[in-house]
Symmetry: C2
Subunit: 129 residues, 2 copies
């Protein structure tokens, strides 16, 4: 059995508090991660909270990247949800980890949409829109 999507659920601790409170930097890091991982970006939105924290979502043809930052705790929650076999999530994670200067990272990979069909019958979303 195979799933329709792979979902990486990532916790980053010990991040650079100034970086993860900066909307422009966070947006740049996530967009770079998505592009280098070969994701096809459809649209994205980032938001700076007052007094601190940034949230962002990138919709990709292969599902999504999201980030939420808590600068006061040096913590970021990142999710990378992909379908198909073309996205290199590991390289995306490394780009994010370096960009936010995280000391620690933990990641859980979940299979989403477990379908009881042979592999060759599982179709993925197209890369384009």
């Amino acid at each position: 059995m195979k799933g329709l999507g792979d979902h990486l659920i990532v916790e980053f601790y010990g991040c650079n508090k100034e970086v993860i409170n900066n909307e422009v930097l966070i947006e740049n890091i996530l967009i770079k991660a998505a592009k280098v991982a070969k994701a096809t970006i459809i649209d994205y939105k980032f938001h700076k909270f007052s007094p601190h924290g940034v949230s962002g979502a990138i919709i990709i043809a292969e599902s999504h990247f999201t980030i939420h930052t808590w600068p006061e705790y040096g913590y970021c929650a990142v999710d990378i949800f992909t379908c198909g076999d073309l996205i290199n999530s590991s390289i995306a994670l490394n780009i994010i980890k370096e960009g936010i200067e995280a000391d620690y990272m933990s990641a859980i990979k979940m299979v989403r949409g477990l379908i009881d069909l042979p592999d060759d019958q599982i179709r993925h979303k197209p890369e384009g829109s």
Copy 2:
């Protein structure tokens, strides 16, 4: 120990294939779910794929809602990531389940951002922007 966010990871099977292939309906259902759950919507984006499937993300002051649909399998992946104690995720889930006419639903709740501080020192993102 308490976490900074609650993350509901939800699988819907046996959905109405026409509904989950309709971008407008999916957007309306998710927006309604977020509003009824008392989430503060910051921005959102939904996208219809060709030949089928819809993806969407709502950034809320309290984190995010996302959805990805596979009409060909009657399957939807939904994530509801919230912080603070004000959001009623259960009511949001029920609105989505009814809207997409899902036969089956499974949900896992993860605590994100486990922080070793007493409860009263954990601050949540403000409700506004």
